[in-house]
């Protein structure tokens, strides 16, 4: 067992446990914090995969922005949520069953796939994945258009979010 | 002028419609304007058809003034118009009676615009039937004529009166004019269902609806149709035609719509109904039944003659049994039109002989004559109805001293209707009897009973209205009966002149008819 394997297993175990905590913790703040942990785990996984840029973005965007956003949201809606009954609905066992089934199904499908045991090839010498990614994102021959579309989507989502969350009753500033 | 001459039939046919459409834009309240406009407009086709008469060559074979306009090309049906001596006579009658009827309608004050427009539409419908040389067009105009008449009866008919309808399902009452108009409409349409089917069959068979083409080919068509022997098909189609026309004529026992429709229709409506619409049926016999089904017509001539004789005899009896003046006159139409069909039946039994030609001459002339005298009679009934608001013969009595001029005109017209020699009805009845006697002696002899009863009911009418002790109710005060006025005399004048002229010197019209009949059969 190589070091990388051990690291991976540890990170994966931590991540899955954190994820489990995310979906089961009663306290939402805790859940959000557990999410942060999960996201860290994923970031490490990215690093293990030599996707350095993704790992960084994961930390910056997910943990820095999204997770914080969740915590804000939890706090904004908190007063009702505090210790009010079960955090899982009555049909949680169906959900669990479905989750297990999904997992089983996915694994089952993967099982017979011959590419399962592929090993990663060595990174080519002098290959810089970050700059290659940058090239790909803004190259007219590659993904500039989806990239720009994604940015427009993001903008639209922001505007939409502002509009949806805006409270007309307290929004005196509009007048 | 040249354009009019080249499209003379089209102009005559659609001028009334055009005028009616123009009327749409005239102010609705101006009754005087509307009346005169409609009257003037109806004079135009009359003048044109007089011109047509002068231009018509009775010796020429086939249709004259033929004109063909595209209409329904997918079916090979075209607006094909034409004129021979038979249609000419009928067109003349129509264009003559329409202005007269419009003049007679000047006393209508209710929704004058609609009334006049309907009348003009009606004229187009009637003319179309007489001019059509295309089966489908014939049928279209045949049905078109119904609609205005329906509304005229339904809307402008006698406002009073309820009709109790008894049937095996129990009885109920409805307004008399509603009953009459419905009966008229549904009966005629029901009758023409078979006609439509038969026309369509011919259309499918020959791929077009041209009357001349179909006439030339149908009578000796001998292939089986749809697995049914051609003689069966022809027999069924023959009766489909006959029933459609028999309802319109009306032949006994399809006649009961007529007294109701006549009685309830407005005066001018009755005039046109009796004067022209009934002729459509007889015209159908002459134009379609005899040429298309010579063999069947010959075979069933006896049956037709039986119905005609029944119409003559029962029509006369029923007329005699009436207490309603208008109904009496209405039944007289059944009686008179019976002679037309008798002549046609006789002719059918021996097409081409001199007897047949004479019978046909009589039948066609009888159509024309009945148009004149029946229109006159209905108008005269209308005149007195307008003044007294009753048609019950028992309510009159001894009116002659109050209305001597009216009385004179009534007697004159009645005598024409009775078939007094020297007036027009006699000529045609004599010709029919003369033509039918050698061919259908028994039926002709029986129909003489109808001729006898004609006298009885005509005299009954005169007796109850004019003669006898004066009914003082009409002599004084607000009910005082007023004499026929100048307009009404003007309505009667052309009819009376024609009645007398044809009675004394029928050759001018009979010559045209005679030649047409010789060529047609």
């Amino acid at each position: 067992m190589t070091t990388a394997q051990i690291i991976f297993l540890v990170v994966a175990a931590v991540t899955l446990v954190s994820a489990f905590m995310v979906v089961t913790t009663r306290n939402l703040i805790h859940a959000a914090l557990w999410l942060v942990a999960t996201l860290f785990g994923v970031a490490v996984t990215y690093a293990l995969l030599n996707a350095n840029f993704l790992a960084v973005v994961q930390v910056v965007v997910y943990i820095g922005a999204i997770a914080i956003l969740f915590i804000f949201a939890v706090m904004l809606t908190r007063k009702e949520m505090r210790d009010q009954g079960p955090q899982l609905n009555s049909a949680w066992w169906i959900s669990a069953l479905l989750a297990v089934l999904t997992f089983g199904g996915l694994v089952g499908m993967l099982w017979g796939w011959k590419g399962m045991d592929t090993l990663a090839s060595e990174m080519p010498v002098g290959f810089d994945s970050v700059s290659a990614l940058g090239d790909a994102l803004i190259s007219p021959n590659a993904f500039v258009l989806p990239f720009e579309v994604a940015s427009v989507l993001l903008l639209a989502a922001l505007v939409g979010a502002v509009y949806v969350a805006f409270n007309p009753r307290s929004g005196d500033s509009r007048k | 002028m040249n354009f009019i001459y080249e499209h003379l039939l089209l102009v005559i046919l659609f001028f009334p419609t055009l005028a009616a459409l123009v009327m749409l834009f005239l102010p609705a309240g101006e009754n005087k304007l509307l009346r005169w406009f409609a009257f003037g407009a109806s004079l135009v086709p009359f003048i044109l058809s007089v011109w047509l008469w002068t231009q018509f060559d009775p010796n020429a074979v086939g249709y004259q003034f033929e004109a063909q306009y595209p209409w329904y090309q997918a079916l090979n049906s075209s607006l094909h118009l034409g004129m021979d001596g038979l249609s000419l006579t009928m067109v003349m009658l129509t264009t003559l009676l329409t202005p007269i009827a419009l003049l007679a309608s000047f006393s209508i004050n209710d929704r004058v615009k609609g009334y006049m427009m309907l009348f003009l539409f009606l004229e187009t419908g009637m003319l179309g039937v007489f001019m059509a040389v295309d089966l489908l067009i014939f049928f279209v105009f045949w049905e078109v004529g119904l609609v205005p008449m329906y509304f005229l009866i339904n809307q402008w008919g006698s406002p009073k009166g309820e009709r109790e309808v008894r049937s095996i399902f129990g009885k109920f009452t409805m307004s008399a004019r509603n009953y009459a108009s419905l009966k008229f409409m549904i009966y005629t349409m029901g009758g023409s269902l078979g006609l439509l089917l038969a026309v369509q069959m011919l259309g499918v068979l020959f791929g077009n609806y041209d009357l001349q083409y179909i006439t030339a080919n149908w009578s000796n068509y001998s292939k089986d149709l749809m697995g049914i022997s051609v003689s069966t098909v022809k027999t069924v189609a023959f009766w489909a035609f006959v029933i459609a026309f028999a309802v319109k004529v009306p032949l006994w026992p399809f006649h009961t719509w007529l007294p109701d429709a006549h009685t309830e229709a407005p005066t001018a409506g009755s005039m046109i109904l009796a004067g022209v619409l009934l002729k459509l049926g007889a015209y159908g016999f002459l134009r379609l039944v005899l040429p298309l089904y010579p063999a069947e017509a010959k075979y069933f001539a006896g049956a037709l003659a039986f119905l005609a004789t029944a119409a003559i005899v029962f029509g006369a009896f029923a007329s005699f049994g009436q207490t309603d003046f208008k109904r009496l006159v209405a039944y007289s139409s059944v009686n008179h039109m019976g002679f037309v069909v008798l002549g046609i039946a006789a002719a059918a039994s021996a097409v081409g002989t001199q007897d047949a030609t004479i019978a046909l001459n009589g039948a066609v002339l009888q159509m024309f004559n009945h148009g004149l005298s029946a229109a006159g009679m209905f108008f005269l009934v209308g005149v007195i109805y307008e003044r007294t608001h009753t048609r019950n013969l028992d309510d009159f009595g001894g009116l002659f001293p109050l209305v001597p001029v009216y009385g004179g005109i009534l007697i004159f017209t009645s005598m024409a209707s009775l078939g007094l020699p020297g007036l027009n009805g006699f000529i045609s009845e004599f010709l029919v009897v003369r033509g039918s006697l050698p061919l259908l002696p028994v039926y002709t002899a029986i129909s003489m009973l109808g001729l006898l009863m004609t006298g009885a009911y005509i005299l009954k009418g005169i007796k109850q209205v004019l003669h006898g002790p004066l009914n003082e109710h009409w002599a004084h005060g607000e009910h005082k009966l007023t004499e026929i006025n100048t307009r009404e005399i003007l309505v009667m004048a052309p009819l009376m002149v024609l009645i007398l002229v044809i009675g004394l010197w029928p050759a001018w019209i009979l010559d045209v008819i005679n030649k047409a009949m010789m060529m047609l059969f």
Partner: protein, 714 residues
């Protein structure tokens, strides 16, 4: 002007007069009668010219005046109408024109021209008299002028037109035209006082009864026309045409074609000439003004019937059976009507039945083949019967004077038992009436009636028709008897009522026609004295020679035989004598032995016809045809269709549309959907997680299915 043109013109003046009066001059009485009488004069003049020109033609029978024009196109040929004057036509024209002229003239006086307007007179009723105040201030009631004076002349004009047309026609059709026009005019004139229900009924009766005959006649004409292709007399009465007619077999009662046609035409005459059994209209026709009665009964209409049969004699004589029928009808009518006449009290009704009886003589004469005798009696009868009618009119007029004078309107001025002694009051009327009456009775040697009646009897005897001979002789006896009864009751003796005392002679316009006609009532007989009368070898009878020339075969002169002469002398004189002897002592109807109910009521023919024909016809019309057949059966069937269609529609709606389509298919589908929806609704919790779960479950199931079912093939 050629004679033919003149013949064409003869009927026109009266027709023009009719139109002129109706259209223009009807307001002016003087102008109207001037037009009317003027037209009669013109026609009379023209007729006279034609008559005398006809006299001048040798063998007029073979070369009559003829002229024709095309009238009706009939296929390739034309039906021609035209005029013709042959000897028979000329002879008839002669008496027709004179009597018409006289009747026109008479009408002026009869309708009180020049008298004031009546106080309460009203169109449609006879004038009731007017009150005038003379210079001394006395009030008198005088006759008033007829309110419809102008109209009367118009009708007379039309009537005359009809008669002239009939006489001058060269064919049956125009003859029929004139015949029917007269029928109309008789209707109008009998119903002239249409305000009286009795007059109205009589008019209709006259028209309808004659129309029965006319209808048969029309059938006969049509038959004849189709059999021969022509209606012109001269073309029909050719040898081959007549043979052709005989050879036709119409399969009817074993008659030949000629026989059937003849019979049909004869039925027309039966109606028109009031022969039994269609005689009923004629007595009732007395409701009309008296000139009308004269016109109808003497000059024109009834004569027309006989004239038609005489015209058709060549055709009729072809079939023995027809001739027998004709002879029987004529003979029977002659005796039958004579018996009724004996019991009538109305002065005009007696004459009416006498007319029927005399017409029976003529018909009987024809039936036994006595062509000339029939024609002769027709003409003499026309003269003396017109005279008698006009005379009776004069009597009535005089009596009306009396009635107006006394003011007692309950007295019937026509009842002979109210008269008596008028001889002194109305001398001209008396003498002329006497002449007429004697002529009717056949007063020997002097009067026209004797010669004509004698000729009929002689013919009957000579041809061996003994039954006819005896019956006619009996009828002649009764004729003389009732004529004398009439004269006695009316003129002789003393006045039986005050009204009769105040009767007055009538004005000249009425008496002049009487005098003129009485001349002919005597003189016309002399033109027909048989050449072998009493075996005296006189000049040949002009009438026999002239009129007999009409026929292709000149009728033979019958040999003289004293028996018919003696018989006719006995019956005429005996009847007159007995009548005078009996009735000079009778002063009221109760004393009259002959007031037998059966005769007085005309053998109850009217009542019988009422029950046998009229009532059933009315029932047939009102109840059977209209109520049962039309309204019941035919409309019943129609009304079956209406509600039946409604019923079918209702059924379809009730049980198919509503139940099957709406409830089962329409509502059913909806219900199923709704129920399914309702059932499935709980799924729609609105809870997004459950939706998702569901979709996942389904995905899982579908995936599993795909996997296990298709997986095998993968």
């Amino acid at each position: 002007m050629t004679t033919e043109t003149l013949i064409w013109l003869i009927p026109l003046p009266p027709a023009l007069a009719f139109f002129l009066i109706v259209l223009f001059t009807n307001k002016n009485k003087a102008l109207s009668h001037s037009v009317g009488v003027g037209a009669a004069v013109l026609s009379w003049l023209a007729s006279m010219v034609v008559f005398f020109r006809a006299l001048g033609v040798e063998h007029l029978g073979e070369h009559p005046f003829v002229s024709s024009v095309n009238w009706l196109p009939t296929g390739d040929t034309w039906f021609k109408i035209g005029v013709a004057i042959d000897p028979l036509g000329a002879a008839v024209l002669f008496f027709v024109s004179i009597t018409i002229f006289m009747i026109f003239l008479y009408s002026v006086g009869y309708h009180n021209f020049g008298q004031p307007k009546g106080d309460h007179d009203r169109a449609g009723l006879p004038p009731h008299g007017a009150t005038v105040t003379d210079e001394q201030g006395h009030k008198h009631t005088v006759p008033s002028v007829e309110p419809m004076y102008s109209r009367f002349f118009a009708f007379l004009g039309l009537f005359a037109f009809g008669m002239y047309t009939l006489v001058v026609s060269d064919n049956l059709l125009t003859m029929f035209v004139g015949w029917e026009i007269m029928g109309l005019c008789s209707y109008l004139l009998i119903g002239f006082w249409y305000g009286k229900p009795s007059a109205r009924a009589a008019a209709i009766k006259a028209f309808m009864t004659t129309r029965i005959g006319d209808v048969f006649m029309l059938l006969g004409i049509a038959f004849l026309y189709s059999a021969t292709g022509t209606l012109t007399f001269r073309e029909i009465f050719t040898e081959e045409m007549l043979q052709h007619l005989v050879s036709i077999d119409p399969h009817f009662l074993g008659l030949t074609g000629a026989g059937l046609i003849g019979l049909l035409l004869f039925i027309g005459t039966v109606g028109k000439s009031a022969q039994w059994p269609l005689h009923v209209w004629l007595p009732d026709a007395m409701e009309g003004p008296t000139p009308v009665s004269a016109m109808i009964h003497a000059a024109t209409m009834v004569s027309a019937g006989v004239y038609a049969v005489i015209r058709m004699f060549p055709l009729l004589s072809l079939d023995h059976n027809t001739m027998t029928v004709v002879a029987f009808i004529g003979t029977f009518t002659a005796i039958f009507a004579a018996t009724i006449a004996v019991a009538q009290n109305d002065i005009k009704r007696v004459l009416a039945y006498s007319t029927i009886s005399q017409l029976g003589f003529m018909i009987a004469a024809l039936g036994i083949g006595a062509y000339v005798a029939a024609a002769f009696h027709l003409i003499t009868h026309a003269f003396f019967k017109a005279l008698l009618f006009l005379g009776s009119g004069s009597v009535i007029h005089g009596m009306e004077h009396g009635v107006l004078h006394t003011g007692n309107h309950s007295v019937d001025p026509q009842d002979m038992f109210n008269m008596g002694g008028l001889r002194k009051k109305m001398p001209i009327t008396f003498w002329t009436f006497l002449i007429g009456g004697f002529a009717l009775s056949g007063f020997p040697l002097l009067t026209a009636g004797f010669w004509s009646k004698d000729e009929i009897l002689a013919d009957a005897w000579a041809n061996g028709h003994l039954v006819v001979f005896v019956t006619l002789a009996l009828a002649a006896f009764m004729t003389a008897f009732y004529t004398m009864r009439q004269i006695t009751l009316t003129f002789l003796g003393e006045p039986r009522t005050k009204e009769a005392e105040h009767a007055q002679e009538t004005p000249w316009t009425m008496t002049v026609p009487l005098m003129v006609l009485s001349v002919f009532a005597i003189g016309y007989g002399w033109v027909g004295i048989p050449e072998n009368f009493l075996n005296l070898q006189l000049a040949p009878s002009w009438f026999h020679e002239f009129v007999g020339g009409t026929l292709a075969e000149h009728p033979e002169v019958i040999p003289f035989n004293p028996i018919p002469l003696i018989v006719s002398l006995v019956v005429a004189l005996g009847g007159l004598l007995l009548g005078w002897l009996y009735y000079r002592n009778v002063n009221s109807a109760k004393e009259d032995f002959f007031q037998i109910p059966l005769l007085k009521n005309k053998y109850y023919f009217d009542e019988a016809y009422q029950v046998v024909f009229i009532k059933p016809v009315i029932w047939l019309s009102e109840v059977f045809t209209y109520k049962w057949l039309d309204q019941g059966l035919i409309d019943g069937i129609l009304h079956f269709f209406g509600p039946a269609t409604g019923g079918i529609g209702g059924f379809i709606r009730q049980y198919i549309d509503l139940k099957v389509i709406n409830e089962f298919i329409g509502d059913g589908l909806a219900a199923v959907t709704q129920e399914t929806g309702r059932t499935l609704r709980p799924i729609q919790t609105g809870r997004i997680q459950q939706y998702m779960m569901l979709s996942l479950v389904i995905l899982a199931v579908v995936g599993a299915l795909l996997y296990f079912m298709l997986g095998a093939g993968l």
